[in-house]
Amino acid sequence: MTMFRTGARGDHDPGPAREALRLVEVTRTYGTAENAVTALDGVTLSLGRGTFTAVMGPSGSGKSTLLQCAAGLDRPDSGVVRVDGKELTGGGEAELTRFRRGRVGFVFQQYNLLETLTVAENTVLPLKLAGRRVDRKRAREMLTAVGLGDRLGHRPDQLSGGQRQRVAIARALVTEPRVIFADEPTGALDTRSARQVMLLLREAVRVHGRTVVMVTHDPVAASYADSVVFLADGRLAGRMDAPTPDAVAERLAHLGDDVPVGV
């Protein structure tokens, strides 16, 4: 427990691990024995530091479960999850929360900003909760970088969807996490806002050196990533580097035909 509390920037922190995320034989089943649904069926995956990966697959292929297990929001039935070289072990929700702080940041389709807080307050909330020093200047820089420097005192309901998602990205970046998990970040956005969001996520990788893992079903969004990992029926179904929207769409359309290949 104390090991988790010190966070990623503790005294004995050896610096970022080379592997930002590693999953070994991760299995997750929902429901009881009779009508059990296997969402993840022995997934093994390794993502290097500073990479931008999109996870794609049809509905029900286990994309969201994969993201939640990898991010410490859900616990796999079996298998190993390592984030930034630290293994995710059992424990209560409080322990998982402390594990995530400083290691993991989130961007969700529905933004999940707190309605009662202003843009600036939402951005520094993770720091407040983790009991870390709140650097307001840095938060302001972060919000200026996502193009919202003049909206600090606004509430989320005064912003457009694209603006809210950019606040969410600033919030995810402010704790300087090793891995940012994005769950359909452009799912509720128009194409212009979606493009801005994808450019910001790519910048987080290129400029700030973060690792981004993004679940999406939009081939255009996926084309911003360095590589795409395909998922079907809870298993890995291939990988594509330097993806283009057309190639991704083509591959998705024939995902059922593919013989599953190892990654």
């Binding site: 929700e93 929360t97 969700f108 999940n112 909330l125 407040k128 909760l129």
Partner: protein
Amino acid sequence: MLVLALRSIRRRPGRFLATLLSAFLGAAITMTFNSMHDTAGQGGVDPVSSETLGTAAGVVGGYGTLLVFFAVASTLTVNVRQRTAELELLRCSGATPAQINRMVVGEAVAVALVGAALAIGPAMLGGRALLEMFQDSGQVAGSVEYSFGPVALLSGVDITLLASAGAAFLAVRRVRRGGRARTGVKRFLACAALATGAVGAGATFLFPATDEALMAPPAYGAILLSVGFALLSPRLLKGVLDRLPLNGASGWLAVRNLRERADHLAGILVCLILFTAVSTATVTMQAVESDAVKASGLVKSVDAKNLETLNLTVVGIIAVFVCVMLVNSLYAATTYRSREFGQQRLAGATPGQVLGVVGAEGVVLTLTGVFFGTVAALAGVVPFTVVRTDAVLPDRFLAVWIAMAAVSAAVTLGTSLETARRVLRTPAVGAVTLAA
């Protein structure tokens, strides 16, 4: 639309539980006391008994009507506010405002009818017990038979129905209009209540020390003052929050939540202020009165005894009612925050920190409510004590106050923390994706 109303109740009975509970309690109280009218109206009841029964029915019946209206209105407002999304969806699918009105009012009437029907049995038992209490204390002749007749039934059903329909109509209208327009009226009413309350409490000094009605002006003064404070409560709460140095992530979040939701929390503060003021003032004044009578060596008259029974019954009923309302509205408000708690957890809050936020909010609410309730109570108790005895503050006050403040704190914190703890059992990811 009525079909839709009935279907929406049948599909989600849980949502209407809070409204049903307040309609049921309200109808039960109204019927219990109005059955005293039925009992007194029978042939062969002597005038003294008849008068006692009539007073009890009149005074508590009047209070009851007010309480029913207030209780049903506050639960319905919460209920309608939490369904804004659903009502918006109906509007988009082509429902006219009048149709939406009919649906919400129809639901409220249906729930009120069920509540009133359920209340008949308990009201009969309660009325019988009340009559026996009057008979045991010798205020009503032992020969009087209990009767539950048309007055009780009609008044109970009518009041509950009217209160529900009226409150539902106002609630749905307020949600549609965004509820900002009438702050001026509200402020005027609050100032009027405060001014009348102060005059009432001050009028105590005009009465001679042994006047039987001496307790009335300070009691009504305290009640009016607490109503005034209650109407101003969102503003008072904001004032308190500005002067609050709360540190730590939980306190920081709690202050911001409360400031944003101050208007929605008025219902909870109303309960707290009324409970503290009414119970503390009446119980203390009754104790002072009894002590004074005992000290003078006189025996209490039937009227004085009537007044005592009535006082304590009224306080008991108001206290229980307001407590139930407090639990009711806190439970509804906290359950509704499941999504917000999920978002806090995804932003890095441990379940303990979320409970810390809820706890800090509860403490601030309790302190604010108890403080203004105490001010209102003191405004009644002090004039009464000065006139009736030589002291300024009775010795009993502190004990009564501590008991009432403890009940307020226990109910507020207990309900919100326990509800939050249950809400937190849903995984965070599930909580934010659940349709509200």
